[in-house]
């Protein structure tokens, strides 16, 4: 469709982050490498130190175990932060996390309306998956996206790395599906711009993030990884 009022594919929200370099495939690959190096820098000394302690002085085993646990836990905490970007945030005005209504229960009206609009934006498979997992699967040029209420996961082509982005609509009154639809429309308008506006929370192996996701969301990550492994996915593998 050739729209008379259409503007260049750049998100207007980019004006709020003029200092940021545009997040393209090259940027993501570079950032992934940096993340891997930084992870090695803070885990290897702890891991090597724990082994060294045992070798040099076996009586230090308890301390060595604690040190090794730190080497394991720090990346896990980062992965937890990454997975948290797509955790359900709850209905407006309520503190309880939103859960999909069980069959036969009357849904929250605003959320039901929003769910209908979001469903119209997705194809059949993506709609069913979104309703079951809370995440909308969206193929892109940078990889395969999973869009939630207040964040998105980008599975890089090949499926061996996931980038976690924290991004939201600063309107607490919106129902959860509207928040997802906001992010989805922004992503479809300008994928690189969307990734630039979003805050990068984590980059690493998908299995680390998967362990920290709520169980109902995990099939969405599995499907996205499968899609990211297919040849049709983008070509920004790091």
């Amino acid at each position: 469709m050739n729209l008379s009022g259409a503007s260049a594919p750049a998100l207007p929200e980019l004006a709020s982050v003029p200092w940021r370099e545009r997040t393209d495939a090259r940027w993501l690959a570079r950032y992934g490498r940096w993340w891997r190096v930084s992870t090695a820098l803070y885990t290897l000394p702890l891991a090597v130190g724990s082994v060294g302690m045992v070798v040099l002085e076996p009586v230090t085993i308890p301390v060595a175990l604690a040190t090794a646990a730190h080497a394991w836990m720090i990346p896990e905490l980062y992965a937890f932060r990454g997975a948290s970007v797509v955790r359900p945030k709850g209905l407006p005005g309520g503190s309880a996390p939103y859960t999909r209504p069980a069959a036969g229960t009357p849904p929250n009206t605003a959320e039901a309306v929003a769910q209908g609009l979001l469903g119209d934006l997705l194809d059949h498979d993506a709609r069913e998956r979104q309703r079951a997992t809370g995440l909308a699967l969206e193929p892109g040029e940078l990889g395969t996206w999973l869009v939630g209420e207040a964040g998105a996961l980008l599975i890089a082509p090949g499926g061996r790395r996931v980038h976690c982005f924290c991004v939201r609509v600063p309107d607490p009154e919106l129902p959860p599906s509207d928040r997802t639809a906001h992010l989805l429309l922004a992503l479809r308008t300008d994928e690189e711009g969307f990734a630039t506006v979003a805050n990068h929370a984590f980059c690493g192996a998908p299995w680390r993030v998967r362990r920290r996701l709520p169980k109902p969301m995990r099939p969405a990550l599995d499907a996205a990884r499968q899609q990211a492994r297919s040849p049709r996915s983008g070509d920004c593998a790091a």
Partner: protein, 74 residues
């Protein structure tokens, strides 16, 4: 019938509807669209799977125009 909708606390609200040949309805929709832009909303036209366009003027030929809030890094 084309629709101008706004995502809001009710899920979404239909602000205007128009047919391509109905100038009066389109003008009313145009006024509403500009008012919403002044309030900080962003006009977006879904264009099928995986595509959407931002619009600064209401496209008469679009089937659906969605007004959304700006996003921000969390």
């Amino acid at each position: 019938m084309a629709r101008l909708i706004r995502m809001d606390a009710t899920g979404h609200s239909t602000l205007a509807e128009w047919a391509t040949q109905d100038d009066a309805a389109f003008e009313a929709a145009l006024d509403e669209f500009r008012t919403q832009l002044d309030l900080g909303y962003i006009g977006t036209v879904p264009e099928g799977p995986g595509k959407a366009s931002q619009v600064r003027e209401l496209p008469r030929e679009a089937d659906l125009v969605i007004l959304r809030r700006p996003i921000a890094g969390g």
